[in-house]
């Protein structure tokens, strides 16, 4: 039976859905439940990862250190993971702290064409004997061959696997099959996939990734995550088992963890709202949804127009400041919301 390694960013991607206001209780109860279900990796932190609490993306309720310590105390079996983007976080300010707390798995992320900014961070973690992966975000913005080239750079820096993120939820299964198939063929390390559900494809795309040879999949309880949410983990685990993949996760306890998430962590269960469909079509980072809603309201412009304009400008993750400029420009052009 083929094995799939599951990484669960409920306590990280989910932070996007609640303005990064995850509190101690939420981390505690979910980390405890995920640990009980034997979920292999539990990712924790600000939505954009270590060092990303900011006016640009949103300030965290708890600082990184506090979040990681609470999770650490509750994870005896599952590994504690973090997401980190060079440009937001640095080795000195952030990675050292995470190593001290005892983070087990480091996922060093860059925009899909900019893998070389991860070199020092990947090597740094690898040199300290921790598990380290490369992450290529917003991967729909690069061609198959460019993704292979960028993933190979991460492999050369010491990454033990590369995770391809569909950060805008823009893929159809056929896109996933093409890219993941080529990556698994041309790299010597495991390939992973991280789905978003903007176009309702999160589970289908995750299945396509597994069938194309991906051996790492991300999913979150009830799909808790940016925009329309992620691949719903309890569904993904069930579907994978049904297809004959093994995840090592206890299904009943996984279902319990999802209940815990719904009752204690989530504010709203993710739905595919108008704004998420548009974000998926425009190919814009799912995490922008809350900001676009707020700023469009303030400048009285149609959030759909804002998303399509951001897409036209090929704005990448971390460029939330551009939303203000785009909204002001649309307002000045008289394109007011009807």
């Amino acid at each position: 039976m083929s094995k799939i390694l599951i990484s669960d960013p409920t306590l990280r991607d989910g932070n996007h859905a609640i303005h990064h206001q995850m509190n101690a209780h939420q981390i505690e109860v979910y980390a405890f439940a995920a640990n009980a279900a034997s979920i292999p990796i539990v990712e924790v932190g600000h939505g954009n990862g270590l060092g990303a609490s900011s006016l640009q993306v949103g300030e965290s309720l708890l600082d990184d250190e506090r979040m990681l310590k609470i999770a650490r105390e509750n994870l005896t079996h599952s590994k504690l993971g973090i997401h980190v983007m060079p440009g937001f976080a640095t080795i000195n300010k952030d990675l050292k702290m995470a190593l001290d707390i005892g983070v087990d798995v480091f996922r060093v992320a860059a925009h899909c064409t900019e893998a070389d900014i991860t070199q020092r961070h990947i090597s740094y973690v690898r040199d300290r004997g921790k598990e380290v992966y490369g992450v290529l975000m917003m991967s729909h913005m690069a061609s198959r061959d460019v993704l292979v080239e960028e993933a190979q750079k991460m492999e050369s820096y010491g990454a033990e696997g590369v995770i391809i993120m569909d950060s805008a939820g823009a893929y159809l299964p056929v896109d996933v099959t093409e890219r993941i198939g080529e990556l698994t063929k041309r790299l010597n390390i495991p390939i992973g996939f991280h789905a978003h559900n903007n176009l309702g494809m999160a589970i289908a795309n995750s299945v396509a990734a597994a069938d194309a040879g991906a051996t790492i999949l991300d999913g979150t309880s009830r799909g808790f995550g940016a925009g329309a949410g992620n691949a719903q983990l309890e569904v993904l685990v069930a579907v994978l088992e049904k297809m004959g993949y093994s995840t090592g996760i206890d299904l009943y306890k996984m279902l319990d963890a999802a209940e815990t998430a719904e009752n204690e962590v989530l504010k709203d269960i993710p739905r595919i709202k108008t704004i998420s469909i548009v974000s998926g079509l425009a190919g814009v980072f799912s995490g922008f949804a809350k900001h676009v809603e707020r700023i469009s309201g303030e400048y009285k412009v149609d959030p759909r127009d804002v998303f399509f304009e951001l897409g036209r400008r090929k704005i990448v993750a971390g460029q939330e400041d551009m939303i203000i400029e785009v909204a002001m420009k649309l307002a000045a052009e008289g394109r007011m919301d009807k």
Partner: protein, 290 residues
């Protein structure tokens, strides 16, 4: 007035663009352009401009100290530490283009005149050159500045290998500069590389959290600062004047370059290089170097 003899160490994007600008300056005479490989695009460019070249790195100056009075170090933060000790021995004035945080931080719109008293000045970062003058104004106008955050996005094309390797230094050096020139309590810097084609212009956003936002006082003071920067960076434009959004002050600028070595989108290259040329010309005018 006699021109000041300068050398450029580092033949990447920054060094090559500096060369084009130095050639145009009425105060500077570029005597030597130094890289590591004679086949590099930067060395080719220097050759085509008729500038003497070398592939010996810092040794080129150590072996021929009379070639210049001032050295632009456009290598990397790690290399600058080593270069500075050699150049200091040789009594050279050094303008450091890397985010090394070794020399006195120079933001021409704020402290050009006082920087001539130092032998090693540091040009902070491109994002720092774009944002620190605005942060400085916020620090002057607002009574209590709790937090300033700056976000720069630059076109991926304009970020060469040293820039990419030094991304942590970019963040930390920009933060040091913001804090030093604004007096804010906390700060954060963020750098985003955007690969869009056609390439995007450099843009920088300054966010601030202050006790009592005084936008009406801030606006004219920002306008004055922007004009002061435009004196040496013609492509610096205010695209979002101070506004209050979600309880944060937001100011955005765009920087278009002069298109000297890289095309106009590379405002990041242009702003730090224009600042460095302004500094070098100030040294020349002060006639510090004989």
């Amino acid at each position: 007035m006699k021109k000041m003899k300068v050398a450029i160490l580092g033949s990447g994007n920054i060094g090559t663009d500096l060369l084009v600008k130095a050639k145009r300056s009425p105060f500077l005479d570029c005597r030597l352009f130094i890289g590591r490989h004679l086949a590099s695009p930067g060395i080719n460019k220097a050759n085509s401009l008729g500038v003497r070249i070398s592939d010996l790195g810092i040794d080129a100056i150590a072996k021929n100290p009379d070639c210049c009075d001032l050295v632009f170090d456009a290598t990397s933060a790690m290399d600058h530490m080593r270069h500075w000790s050699v150049l200091n021995e040789l009594d050279k004035t050094v303008i450091d283009m890397t985010p090394s945080r070794v020399g006195e931080m120079c933001i021409p719109a704020i402290n050009l005149a006082s920087c001539v008293n130092y032998k090693d000045v540091n040009m902070v970062t491109c994002g720092g050159q774009a944002s620190i003058p605005l942060a400085h104004v916020i620090g002057q106008i607002q009574e209590e500045v709790d937090y300033i955050e700056v976000v720069s996005s630059i076109s991926a094309r304009s970020a060469g290998p040293a820039t990419r390797l030094n991304i942590d230094e970019f963040v930390e050096t920009t933060e040091t500069g913001i804090k030093a020139f604004s007096g804010c309590r906390r700060t954060k810097a963020i750098l985003i590389l955007n690969p869009a084609q056609p390439c995007v212009d450099m843009q920088t956003t300054v966010f601030a959290k202050v006790n009592n936002p005084e936008l009406e006082k801030l606006k004219p003071a920002i306008d004055i600062m922007v004009r002061r920067i435009q004196n040496y960076v013609p492509g610096y434009q205010l695209i979002v004047p101070p506004v209050l959004e979600n309880n944060r002050i937001v100011i955005m600028v765009k920087v278009q370059g002069l298109g000297d070595y890289l095309p106009r989108y590379a405002g990041n290259l242009d702003i730090i290089n224009c600042a460095a040329i302004a500094m070098a010309e100030e040294y020349a005018r002060e006639n510090r170097v004989t």
